[in-house]
């Protein structure tokens, strides 16, 4: 249960950073926090008490001893996509910094509407 609370707190901290922070790098960090929170939430949804990882490393293990492998496989995909998105976002931040010489989103006039 504590895992749900921790994952949702991570998501909320991430959303707070995206909404309130002015520094673009902190906004990207907030996005990665949301990402990790969702991943922890998915993995903890697949967890079964007293069961082991879904790997037949030992001949005595049967299918009944294992946790659900589907959330883990989905999270593996999600982590890789998260890395790709973060890298792309950071490179956009680098380009904006080169152009405007600031990371503060309030000082960038083109972002105002």
């Amino acid at each position: 249960m504590i895992y749900y609370v921790a994952a949702i707190s991570l998501i909320l901290i991430g959303i707070y950073a995206v909404l309130v922070k002015k520094n673009m790098i902190k906004i990207v960090l907030g996005l990665t926090l949301i990402d990790s929170g969702v991943n922890i939430l998915l993995v903890s949804l697949g967890y079964v008490k007293d069961k082991t990882a879904p790997i037949f490393s030992n001949p005595t293990l049967t299918a009944g001893d294992m946790v659900d492998p589907v959330p883990q496989a989905l999270v593996l995909t999600a982590i890789v996509i998260g890395v790709a998105v973060t890298a792309l976002a950071l490179s956009i931040v680098i380009r904006i910094y080169d152009h405007h010489k600031t990371l503060n989103i309030n000082k960038i006039r083109e972002l105002k509407w």
Binding site: S44, M66, L76, A87, L88, L90
Partner: protein
């Protein structure tokens, strides 16, 4: 004002998320209801891979993984397009100390071997192509951080990347030609829990490992070149 609105909004979202997820019991057997049970029971016989997460990622949802690799490739391409500059800025960072340099030189081949081990044994132990590729890229990151003049050849990296991606697609097309569907297993399964088992899964994971390693290394080098 802005912070107060944000906290109010977060409280709203947090309340509803928590009250939804507290309805889902934690740690109970829920596998029996879904597709997970089928994977758990038939996965070893059908794919021959001891690691069921690998058998799902590469075999049952292999097409999904091809899409994932494509997303990673697109992100690397996008970064290259965004950060490309005609004359790369020379890194003006300080040289690392002798201890760091010597340690990096000793550790670098070991890290590469660990990464190769992780992606070759992806169907037997925790790990796989993505994890092994990330470990290899971290070895290159260590070298970039310790040696100011350490450069990688981007031509070789992009050759490795594109040929590894082509191997993935070609294995899939061979499955279409000789098997039942795209990415179908066309090789004998072998005995489970040995290195040469699980048919095409190790081959695909080795290709993914090379691809991810080359991609992340190129990405790190591109990013570090823009930092003055």
């Amino acid at each position: 004002m802005r912070k107060a609105i944000a906290v109010l909004f977060l409280g709203f979202i947090g309340y509803y998320l928590l009250s939804t997820f507290l309805l889902v019991p934690f740690g109970v057997v829920r596998v029996l209801e879904g597709v997970g049970l089928k994977y758990l029971q038939d996965g070893l016989q059908q794919t021959g891979a001891a690691n069921l997460v690998t058998s799902i990622v590469v075999n049952y949802r292999g097409f999904d993984t091809l899409g994932e690799v494509t997303v990673l490739f697109l992100a690397a391409t996008g970064m290259g397009a965004l950060l490309y500059s005609k004359r790369p800025t020379e890194r003006a960072r300080q040289n690392a100390s002798v201890i760091v340099k010597t340690g990096a030189r000793i550790l670098f081949p070991l890290i590469i071997i660990l990464g190769a081990y992780v992606f070759i044994h992806g169907h037997l132990t925790p790990g796989g192509g993505f994890q092994g590729g990330a470990i290899i890229a971290s070895g290159f990151l260590l070298m970039f951080m310790s040696y100011r003049t350490y450069h990688v050849n981007h031509v070789i990296l992009s050759r490795v990347e594109s040929s590894a991606g082509s191997v993935f697609v070609i294995i899939g097309l061979l499955g279409l030609a000789y098997g039942s569907s795209f990415l179908a297993n066309i090789l004998p399964l072998g005995t489970a829990n040995t290195l040469f088992s699980a048919g095409v899964i190790p081959l695909i994971y080795v290709a993914v490992g090379f691809k991810v390693g080359a991609e992340l290394t190129a990405l790190l080098d591109t990013m570090l070149q823009t930092v003055k």
